[in-house]
């Protein structure tokens, strides 16, 4: 049972329509304190619109949301959130440091936080350079530094690795992992499945504005399956059905994917042997998040 203080983000039927376009459709999602939540979806799925609604930048057409216990865009709520939506945007004629000083003034936090935040993102030595002269990676890191100024309960980062070179991507992922390990709650949107797989505890998958699934990364990957290769197939099928019933078994490339806890592999092998089946392979099925994501998306496409 989640209590109100455990949930840093909670939406109910959150909807946004732009004219005839339904950008976000009745989204119900929750982000728990202390977790890294991956908000996953292809480009144009409604991720950024949802995050903007959580920050009060866009008003919902319908539905409600609570962020850090407050309505989106409220002063108290914003004080508890650090965010970077899409690319980091600052005043190009000011230095990185001066930009953070401006944001610290707006946020009402002590100026001492500026240097601390620059330190965290490894920009302390380059804080005096003009923001307009920063590389994309430095700009994104400054965006994260600005998000950290308020020492927020919740960090909302919208595609933070977009536009970064491979080294920048690795640095940004490392930074996010460090922030998470320090106890920050992070809500991270991305269309890069590897990123979400590496960083996140739970994910919400959004497609055409609808939240398709919200679960843990492990569950989404479908770890709770066993791959079995055995002959003769009809006898093997009958033996496996005693564990999960026919509905829990799929034929994939001549093998069986059985919806059974991989911890029961020995038990399954023994049952198959007892039925006179020759077993050539038994192992857990490891779907990559990418496989699952594409399956989820294609299932929903077929439903439409």
């Amino acid at each position: 049972m989640q209590t109100a203080t455990d949930l840093l983000v909670e939406t109910h039927g959150l909807t946004r329509r732009f004219g005839t376009l339904l950008a976000v459709d009745s989204v119900n999602l929750t982000v728990r304190r202390g977790e890294v939540y991956g908000f996953l979806g292809p480009n144009g799925a409604g991720k950024t619109t949802t995050l903007r609604m959580l920050l009060g930048l866009i008003r919902p057409t319908a539905g409600t949301a609570l962020v850090a216990g407050h309505p989106p865009g409220s002063r108290a709520g914003l004080r508890a959130i650090g965010s970077m939506i899409e690319a980091a945007t600052f005043y190009p004629y000011l230095s990185g440091r001066a930009n953070l000083q401006v944001m610290a003034d707006y946020a009402g936090v002590p100026q001492a936080r500026v240097d601390q935040a620059l330190d965290v993102v490894d920009l302390a030595g380059r804080g005096r350079r003009r923001f307009g002269a920063y590389s994309m990676g430095m700009k994104q890191r400054l965006g994260v530094a600005a998000a950290l100024l308020k020492e927020p309960d919740l960090l909302i980062l919208d595609e933070p690795t977009n536009g970064l070179d491979p080294r920048g991507v690795v640095e940004m992922r490392t930074l996010i992992r460090e922030l998470a390990s320090e106890g920050h709650t992070v809500m991270l949107s991305s269309h890069q499945l590897t990123e979400v797989e590496q960083i996140c505890d739970r994910v919400g998958v959004i497609r055409h504005g609808r939240l398709v699934v919200e679960t843990t990364v492990a569950q989404l990957r479908g770890d709770a399956r066993l791959l079995v290769r055995a002959t003769p197939p009809d006898v093997a099928m009958a033996a496996l059905s005693t564990f999960v019933g026919p509905a829990g078994i799929q034929r994939v490339d001549g093998a069986f994917h059985v919806a059974v806890d991989p911890g029961r592999a020995a038990e399954v092998t023994a049952a198959l042997a007892g039925a006179g089946v020759q077993v050539s392979e038994v192992r857990p099925v490891e779907h990559s998040l990418e496989d699952v994501f594409l399956r989820l998306v294609s299932e929903k496409e077929e439903e439409r």
Binding site: R52, T89, L94, M103
Partner: protein, 277 residues
């Protein structure tokens, strides 16, 4: 709220376009209105009609003419300067997409836009005082070098004149702010506001409509007529000079204040209500 003012101050003071623009404006005023005319009028053979160079110096360059020149100069240049500051200050936030960064820091949008406007108003006041001081100092140098007796306009007249110029600037700042927020672009706001000021108000309203008498009522409500008449009425006219205003001073002040309030309200409504996408 103090933090928001400080943030807006940091942004404005460090902005090269604003600093260079104001610096050039003050330099141009001193050069074109004092230095070059002084060189021309110092030629003993120079005459303009019946007036000698010495007469012209007394009428235009010495401290007694300081307020007259200040009030003459600031219409329409005060309006143009204020339009540029307004369009750049408010429109650039859209161009740089910085609103999403600023609006997620905590303070309400209305507080932020109010602080932004107040800081711009204060900056215009500072620039006005600095340019007036530069003009006064140049005037003092010229009269001292010439070794002529002089007097300054009454302090209250100078203050009233500067306050009137400031009011005009604030009005045009508010117009530019509303346009920048409406159009979400500094370039469009500058283009449209300058076109409005130069083509509509100065050419159409001031000359065509006033001379032909067409749409006479329009003169009563546009800010340009009120600004020009208010500043014109504060000049101390030389014998033989005539100034016939279209609107009275209270009417002019009412028009300028009303435009300021309406434009500020339009900006506030746009900023408060609009999605930041």
């Amino acid at each position: 709220m103090i933090g928001i003012f400080r943030a807006e101050g940091r942004k404005l003071v460090a902005r090269p376009a604003i600093l260079i623009g104001f610096g050039l404006m003050i330099f141009a005023i001193v050069l074109l209105e004092y230095v070059l005319p002084n060189l021309r009028y110092s030629d003993p053979n120079y005459h303009l009609g019946k007036l000698s160079g010495a007469d012209l110096k007394r009428l235009e360059l010495y401290p007694n003419a300081f307020l007259y020149i200040t009030l003459s100069l600031y219409w329409p240049f005060a309006g143009i300067a204020a339009l540029l500051v307004g369009a750049l200050s408010f429109g650039s936030e859209y161009g740089w997409s910085t609103l999403k960064t600023v609006y997620t820091q905590g303070p309400s949008r209305l507080r932020i836009v109010a602080a932004q406007f107040c800081v711009a108003v204060a900056a215009l006041g500072v620039v006005l005082v600095l340019s007036a001081a530069a003009m006064a100092a140049t005037s003092l140098i010229i009269v001292t070098v010439d070794g002529k007796p002089f007097s300054w306009p009454a302090g209250i007249d100078v203050l009233t004149g500067l306050a009137a110029i400031w009011l005009v600037m604030v009005c045009y700042l508010a117009i530019a702010m509303a346009l920048a927020n409406l159009l979400r672009s500094p370039a469009l706001a500058i283009g449209i506001s300058l076109s409005y000021l130069l083509l509509f108000e100065l050419v159409l309203v001031t000359y065509v409509l006033r001379l032909t008498g067409a749409l006479g009522g329009l003169n009563q409500v546009v800010p340009g007529t009120s600004a020009g008449d208010l500043l014109g009425s504060l000049k101390h006219l030389e014998p033989g000079e005539r100034f016939v205003p279209t609107v009275t001073d209270p009417h002019a002040i009412l028009v300028l204040v009303t435009w300021t309030i309406v434009c500020a309200a339009v900006s506030a409504a746009l900023v408060w209500r609009r999605d930041v996408v």
